[in-house]
Symmetry: C2
Subunit: 333 residues, 2 copies
DNA sequence: CTGAAAGCGCTTACAG
DNA sequence: CTGAAAGCGCTTACAG
């Protein structure tokens, strides 16, 4: 795999590497004669020249690389974010490095280090718990970083998120208005602030409404079993008009899987509302009422802010908050 | 974002950059005294040194970067592949660049060029139609490339795939053994060889069995509508014992969505068998009988072969063919 | 045990 | 209109 370089072009065309560099980068501005210009382009073409962006990056300190760290690229929700970010990044001429953290702070840190050694111009990350230290180190170095989906307390990094607490309250108010006798929140047992916000929204509304409620909180992994056991236990008590509120797509899929398996009809036997979209909902017997995050707009904004930071770094902890939307279908009655 | 370099360490520690490089890379082999070694490590730590992999790559011509090109990273099937490749690549110390081709040869070419300019050590790609030229160019340059999931005719690149034709025949034989009066294949109208293989398997078995069959072939995009119209048309004719054979997860999701919407019961009204796994199946009323590809093993093998090619390039068109497995559930009766 | 020097493939002020 | 030269941050044979 012998690479051809600007030097080869220069030699063959009988000019200096400087001249070659100027015409290849279209920075001649009338400096170079048409003749040499054509010659150089022709040689580049025939010897099949591919520019070495590493060398360029080394010289210019700009890599046109962006690092993206999400919890798990094989999760619907994150792969949709990744895809939208890919599209936006490509538009601006960036190439994407991707890594999955698996909610593991060690892995998260490892990825940050890997990407920063790789000289990415900036990163878009969904931070995990206990990743404050590594992120603080990054901002101390004025490394452009933007968070997406999640945020961490006391961390001044620009971020893109939704109005978690408010939309959660809205969901609950919506459920309250339907006169349920019991509302069950299925969430994560976690310290991630954006998830706690969803829980807080639930708590607040439930307290003020006085409707009996229950919470099933599961670990971030192996959720299927925990969710199903949780639902089973709660449902065993005497029959009531109940609603299940799933605070993520994965939780919803786990829960709906249980309902299907046990022939529990939605919404006749129980109502369901869920966070996030997923293709899986389309195969469920009942169209699911869910909370839609504007992922495309969020991705676009994340890339835009990151690009701005890359071009002109300004310390900032500004959060851009997108309103999520409750999409009413047929799973709540 | 001022970067600290090996030079800074050398200056502060009062040694040469060569010495610093040796201890940082653990290539001292007794050359360096414990004292200077410690000193260097200490300085590196305190001034927060991050190695510049680009500079290293430039010098060594090894980037430890792998480019991954799939059709669409937001598609379940591909994001699972991506995740598995990520895991394997990380184990071997590679970092992943990712891009989606959207089945578009121009985009595919663009990504290949981008990645090769970025000096990736190798690429794992799911080639699209009409991507022969760009891939041939790559192999002429002895650039390590491995295909996954798909392959192209007359293209000598190592590849990982499943036994598409054989498993498709098996599926059909399985259906034939169930005495269906009509079997309907839902596939893509495409030239992609691995998909044609699935169709050929179907054709062969159907011809020999003599059972009436039908094919619904849809374009690679906007499949939902086409699949649903196709099924609707076929189903209108007088009632028979029918089976639907979906040749991809996306087609299956589109088709099952139609069945759900029209309250067509599986397997009582119609049987269903599908290629690939997807989370969505778990929310369908009936457990879907499907073809499982060993994606984890395939990803591991792809990375392994690529790594071998990177370490010691050998022109090869060898295909590693993994057997797919028919997982019998309850959607065929 | 350690350092000076060349060089990877580029860009870009500077000089002519 | 064009080129010589320095330098980005590294590695590595070579010399001592």
């Amino acid at each position: 795999m012998k690479r051809v370089s600007i030097k080869d072009i220069a030699r063959i065309a009988g000019v200096s590497v400087a001249t070659v560099s100027y015409v290849l980068n279209k920075k001649e501005g009338n400096r170079i004669s048409e003749a040499t210009k054509e010659k150089i382009l022709e040689v580049a073409e025939t010897i099949n020249y591919t520019p070495n962006k590493m060398a360029k990056s080394l010289k210019t300190s700009k890599s046109r690389l962006i690092g993206l760290i999400l919890a798990d690229i094989s999760n619907d929700f994150y792969s949709t974010i990744a895809r939208n970010i890919e599209n936006e990044a490509m538009k601006l001429g960036y190439t994407l490095l991707i890594g999955s953290s698996d909610e593991n702070p060690e892995k998260f840190k490892k990825l940050i280090e890997l990407f920063s050694e790789q000289q990415v111009d900036g990163m878009i990350v969904a931070p995990v718990v206990h990743s404050e230290t590594i992120l603080e180190k990054l901002i101390k170095e004025e490394y452009p970083v933007v968070t997406i989906d999640r945020y961490l307390n006391n961390l001044d990094i620009p971020g893109i998120m939704i109005n978690n607490r408010e939309i959660s309250e809205q969901i609950c108010e919506f459920l309250v208005s339907k006169n349920f006798e019991e509302i069950i929140y299925i969430g994560y047992d976690t310290e991630l602030p954006h998830l706690l916000d969803r829980e807080k929204g639930f708590d607040k509304c439930m307290t003020s409404s006085g409707i009996p409620c229950e919470k099933i909180l599961v670990g971030l992994e192996n959720i299927t079993l925990e969710v199903q056991n949780g639902i089973e236990k709660v449902i065993k008590t005497r029959s009531r008009k109940r609603a299940l509120y799933f605070s993520s797509n994965k939780l919803a899929v786990a829960g709906l899987g249980y309902l299907i398996k046990h022939s529990i009809n939605v919404p006749n036997d129980i109502s369901v509302i869920a966070f996030d979209e997923t293709e899986a909902y389309t195969l469920f017997q009942t169209e699911i009422t869910y909370v839609k995050q504007p992922l495309e707009e969020m991705a676009a904004e994340a890339v835009k802010i990151l690009d701005n930071q890359i071009n002109n770094y300004i310390p900032s902890g500004k959060k851009v908050i997108f309103p999520a939307k409750l999409i009413e279908k047929k799973s709540v009655q």
